[in-house]
Amino acid sequence: MNSKNVPVTIEELRRKQPRFEGIESGHRACLGCGEALAARLVTEASGPDVMIANATGCLEIFTTPWPESSWRLPWMHSLFENTGAIAAGMESALKAQGKNTKVLAFGGDGATFDIGFQALSGMLERGHNVLYVCFDNEAYMNTGIQRSSSTPHAAMTTTSPPGSERMGKRHLKKDILSIVAAHHIPYAATSSVAYPSDIRMKVRRAMEIEGPTFLQIHSPCPLGWGHDGADSIKVARLAVQTGLFPIIELERSVLIGSMPIRHPKPVIDYLGLQQRFRHLFNKKDSRAIEELVHIQALADHNIKHYNLRGEGVDTMDSDGADTVRRGGMRWA
């Protein structure tokens, strides 16, 4: 890093760097795990006065192989499908005891979009003061890459394999954010591990809100997506830059902000890095180009629908927001 280009001193940066990590290193996540990084960033921003309800899944498994635990926070795992209700129970107890400790709920996309959806909806509807964070890696990774309702269209998983009759997952990725926002909760947002400062900002914002809040963090899974572990951030960034994963914020179900895309990239830049989409690059298969066109159309739709195309250079856009150094400082 060339400090001449940085509008702050090194001392200032050090002072501003996070002092708290809720997850210790030494856990058993795969190399390049997006979820592990995202969870660490969330706990850095939340600080220590929290209590966590964690759904069954990779995060639970790789952080707590008895008798070890990576958590520096009070943490609990009950089951796969009840995380919203466990968190609601914690919050009710803390309320009854007159404590202000914030409850966090952590779940993967399977636990959030699918099996735990009802408990999540109940928690949102009843207005529990909980920040629910969904680490979205777009399939059941812990059981070995099965499709979930979050798996994007055409992606290959072990239960949506391409073949003579199929081109990967037939259905679209569920729009969980709109569904969650339709509960008219105070705050619902998406973020991505490619943008740590965006995660921190949104967690801090949610922490200040009394009521249910929701954060969906796009978290690459090198094993499940089929890319190099060293490319996780690059892949996550391309999901945003192509428009396939819009970074947006909603208050009471109204769109209040989005991360502009400075230079929209073609979806093939994103898809081509991942083995789960390799069947879309088979030049001998006429269906492949059809699917690529389809996926590009989905990205174009997102860009139009959320008005994501940026104008000029913006420190908060898809190219600016990830040039973030330690401490959450931003510059273009």
Partner: protein
């Protein structure tokens, strides 16, 4: 003070006396009146708690689990399909060894759909690792609920208080609701030793490898066995305060010279007790009230069966393809020791079928056999079943249900 109260009303008032901080409510017949009455107490400022109306029984059980781990005394109630829906959570609560109390307003299981009483629901979660206590009447339900909190919090095991749906929950009885001071004296403030706390962060519910799972199960099993002492102590201490015992693990009522025993769980005990007075001409009979089903009081059972020639096990559930669930355990318990009564196994009162006083006479008739007959459901009217079920036309024969 004795008041005429519906069972559910009495239970709601009793729960309030136990001061839970978090209550999860979800409607299911015949449990609904309990949470409705709690909601009324909360609405009128007579009960100070976070009452959460959840979106399913699965979440009801989960919510109280989260609340208990965060350090609060909790309560919920359910029945039937609700118990089955939350069964995964029930196992989880017990495995995590989290103290809490819930009422099961016993009801039959669908299909066929029945909202009426039997005990198939609590039997279905027999192996979840909860303490299960069965109540013979509403006074026992009140006393057992208070005791259950003490047992649960001392043993760090969850307790299910089983109360026959409708038969108890919807029946008006004169019931003594204890004074608040008495309950406060009996039940210390809730403190969960492994409670989640940001100042002392711990991880609850971790993954264990095969290196540790057997040990966890061993520990859980022995905790349940050891809970027997606490169940007895809690009942004795409550008797000292209130003057009433709810029956410890297993209560025996009958003359010393009785050679016939009838073992039951729940409210059938009351029916048999009244019937025994109605038929004084029948042989002297002991009534065995199995209050603690888990932990199973095998030693107490062996002692209670000393001198009996015949033991009738009368239960309101069955294991299809086998027969009596409790009877199987009674057989196993009496395989050792010197008490060797002949064991007769019957299911009765399924799906709310009325159990008349005459059942007592019928049972005495049925055991007049050279060898105990195989398990049977009492009061099956074969003529109500389709002919195809039997291959014979019952309307033209005089076949009976034997």
């Amino acid at each position: 003070m004795r008041k005429a109260l519906e069972g559910s009303q009495a239970l709601a008032q009793t729960v309030a006396l136990c001061r839970p901080q978090v209550v999860a409510a979800y409607p299911i017949t015949p449990q609904t009146h309990i949470v409705e009455n709690i909601a009324k107490l909360v609405a009128n400022g007579k009960m100070d708690c976070e009452l959460v109306s959840v979106e399913s029984e699965f979440s009801a059980a989960s919510l109280v689990l989260g609340a208990a781990c965060a350090g609060s005394r909790t309560y919920t109630a359910s029945a039937s399909q609700g118990i089955l829906l939350m069964s995964e959570v029930l196992y989880n609560i017990a495995g995590l060894r989290v103290p809490m109390v819930m009422t099961c307003a016993n009801r039959a299981i669908s299909a066929p759909l029945s909202i009426w009483n039997d005990q198939q629901d609590s039997m279905a979660v027999r192996d979840a690792g909860w303490i299960q206590l069965y109540c013979a009447d509403n006074q026992e339900a009140v006393d057992t609920t208070i005791q259950a909190y003490r047992i649960s919090e001392k043993t760090e095991l969850p307790v299910m208080v089983c109360v026959d749906g409708f038969t108890l929950t919807h029946t008006l009885e004169p019931i003594d609701i204890p004074e608040q001071e008495m309950v406060d004296q009996y039940l210390p403030a809730f403190k969960f030793s492994r409670m989640l706390d940001p100042r002392n962060p711990t991880s609850i519910g971790t993954l264990v490898s095969p290196d540790f799972y057997s040990e966890a199960r061993h520990s859980h099993h022995h905790a349940l066995l050891d809970a027997a002492d606490e169940i007895i102590a809690a009942d004795n201490d409550w008797e000292k305060l209130s003057g009433r015992s709810a029956g410890g693990l297993l209560a025996v009522d009958g003359p010393d010279d009785a050679r016939i025993g009838i073992l039951t769980l729940g409210s059938v005990y009351g029916t048999l007790s009244a019937a025994r007075d109605e038929y004084p001409e029948l042989p002297a009979t002991s009534l065995l009230k199995l209050r603690a089903y888990r932990p199973f009081p095998a030693d107490a059972l062996r002692i209670a069966c000393q001198g009996l020639t015949d033991l009738i096990v009368l239960e309101r559930a069955l294991s299809p393809g086998y027969g009596g669930i409790v009877a199987a355990e009674v057989h196993a318990a009496l395989a050792t020791g010197t008490a060797k009564p002949r064991i007769h196994s019957f299911a009765v009162g399924l799906g709310g079928r009325d159990i008349p006083l005459d059942i007592y006479r019928q049972l005495h008739e049925r055991i007049k056999v050279a060898e105990p007959a195989p398990f049977a459901i009492i009061d099956v009217r074969l003529e109500r079943l389709p002919v195809e079920d039997f291959g014979i036309d019952l309307t033209t024969t005089d076949a009976s249900n034997g």
